[in-house]
């Protein structure tokens, strides 16, 4: 994991009175998640902060899952989006607090559903302190297509690290569930 990455030093620093931090936020809000393109990395809670250290904008990202292959792609897209607005920035990573699906914005949840992915329930059930490993808690997942709650878990592991596979017993369609984390 790259701890500290600077974008191209060839770009000149921007002075003036514009609010460069808000401008960086706006740029980041246009970066879609590479695997779930209907939501931005800001809405997913991957961007943990944007600040200014006197010389540069500092963007703090956090990985979703440790092994998520999109992490490097996201960093490259962040750098490209900032470069497009001629914002000189440093990208750094924060591991703590660990990313949680509770950070996903409410408006992004509706868009996930429209995209065919059931949005995550609360991550309380994956609190690492007190879960029986023997029986998974029964969670109520509504089908994103027909809305029925008569659904069944196929596998906790799906097309990406962050999704589980479900099927709807009412409309018979399979669907992804963004699993609580």
């Amino acid at each position: 994991m790259t701890a500290d990455v600077s974008v191209s030093p060839a770009l000149s620093p921007r002075g003036g009175d514009r609010d460069i931090v808000s401008e960086a936020w706006s740029a980041l809000a246009t970066v879609p998640d590479p695997e779930v393109p209907v939501v931005s990395i800001v809405e997913l809670g991957i961007v943990r902060g944007v600040s200014h250290d006197g010389a540069n904008v500092v963007v703090t990202l956090t990985p979703t899952y440790s092994g998520c292959p999109a992490t490097e792609a996201i960093e490259a897209m962040v750098r490209a989006a900032l470069r497009e607005r001629r914002i000189e920035a440093r990208v750094q990573y924060a591991l703590a607090p660990a990313w949680t699906t509770d950070w996903i914005a409410p408006e992004a949840r509706a868009r996930l559903r429209a995209f065919g992915i059931a949005p995550p329930g609360t991550s309380a059930r994956v609190d690492v302190s007190g879960i029986s490993p023997l029986r998974r808690a029964r969670i109520d997942v509504a089908c994103p297509r027909c809305g029925s709650r008569d659904t069944a878990l196929v596998s906790q592991f799906g097309s990406t690290a962050c999704k589980a596979q479900y099927r709807c017993k009412a409309c018979a369609e399979p669907f992804d569930y963004f699993k609580p984390h």
Binding site: G67, V128, L134, R136
Partner: protein
């Protein structure tokens, strides 16, 4: 007093067990018994690979503090020989049939989760942060492997017999998960890592409860592989690790520095 060299050695233990098991799980890709399991094994392997990268990257940073230069995660993964690997012997055991793969994962996942929960309270902030993150992922691993032990154990006569055989065969590799040595004692004193022996009761209780539900019998075998420090944590490995590394490291050995 724990030195940087102690922390480095310990980080290799954490990173290498994750890395080697990730490689084993990767061997299943394209060959899983059903599509969902193929995907699940790849996902669990990917989580472990990501965790291995976090541990080994940190190991390299710590190494730089006492050696002047620290190795990168890739150098540590691809350019060390078997005797320099510090993974437990359990994770290098071959995939075998699905019962073998499941039993190996079941034993490891439960120990892994207990270890990560304890490490999440480490006085070393970076270790605590990585462990807290990894524990959330491993919670799902535990659910899955436990579920399969129960389904196969409490399944057909054939699946029951095979699951019991795998549980028995791999049992003697579980001693190493909890065998404390001098390094463990130093790190426990410094509140950087738990004494592994302190995790054993909770592990055995979880294993026993799952095996009971699976209608399987907890092994009564007392002797363990790797006793008296001749274990993976000290670089003593079974014959399987060399074969695994030959495949995993081939590209970097044949084409040093190659990048995608």
């Amino acid at each position: 007093m724990a030195t940087d060299s102690d922390i480095f050695d310990y980080l290799l233990r954490l990173g290498d067990s994750d890395l080697v098991l990730a490689q084993r799980l990767g061997e299943w890709v394209g060959k899983g018994p059903v599509l969902e399991e193929d995907i699940a094994l790849a996902n669990v392997g990917l989580d472990l690979l990501g965790q291995a990268r976090l541990w080994l990257s940190y190991a390299g940073e710590v190494e730089a503090r006492f050696r002047g230069r620290g190795r990168s995660e890739d150098e540590l993964a691809f350019l060390r020989d078997g005797a320099a690997f510090r993974n437990v012997q359990l994770v290098e055991q071959p995939n075998g049939d699905y019962a073998d793969t499941t039993a190996r994962q079941f034993y490891f996942d439960h120990a892994h989760l207990l270890l990560l929960r304890a490490l999440a309270r480490s006085r070393d902030e970076r270790i605590a942060a990585i462990a807290a993150k990894a524990a959330k992922e491993v919670q799902y691993h535990v659910e899955r492997s436990t579920d399969w032990v129960i389904r196969l154990g409490d399944g057909t006569d054939e699946s029951h017999a095979r699951m019991q055989r795998a549980i028995d065969d791999l049992w003697p590799y579980t001693g190493e998960l909890f065998a404390a040595d001098e390094l463990d004692a130093v790190l426990a004193d410094a509140a950087i890592a738990p004494d592994p022996a302190s995790l054993r009761d909770a592990w055995q209780a979880a294993i026993a409860a799952a095996l009971d539900e699976a209608t399987l019998t907890l092994p009564a075998i007392g002797w363990m592989h790797g006793a008296h420090g001749r274990d993976g944590k000290h670089g003593v490995h079974t014959e399987h690790l060399g074969h695994l590394l030959a495949e995993m490291q081939f590209l970097q050995r044949a084409y040093p520095g190659a990048q995608w």
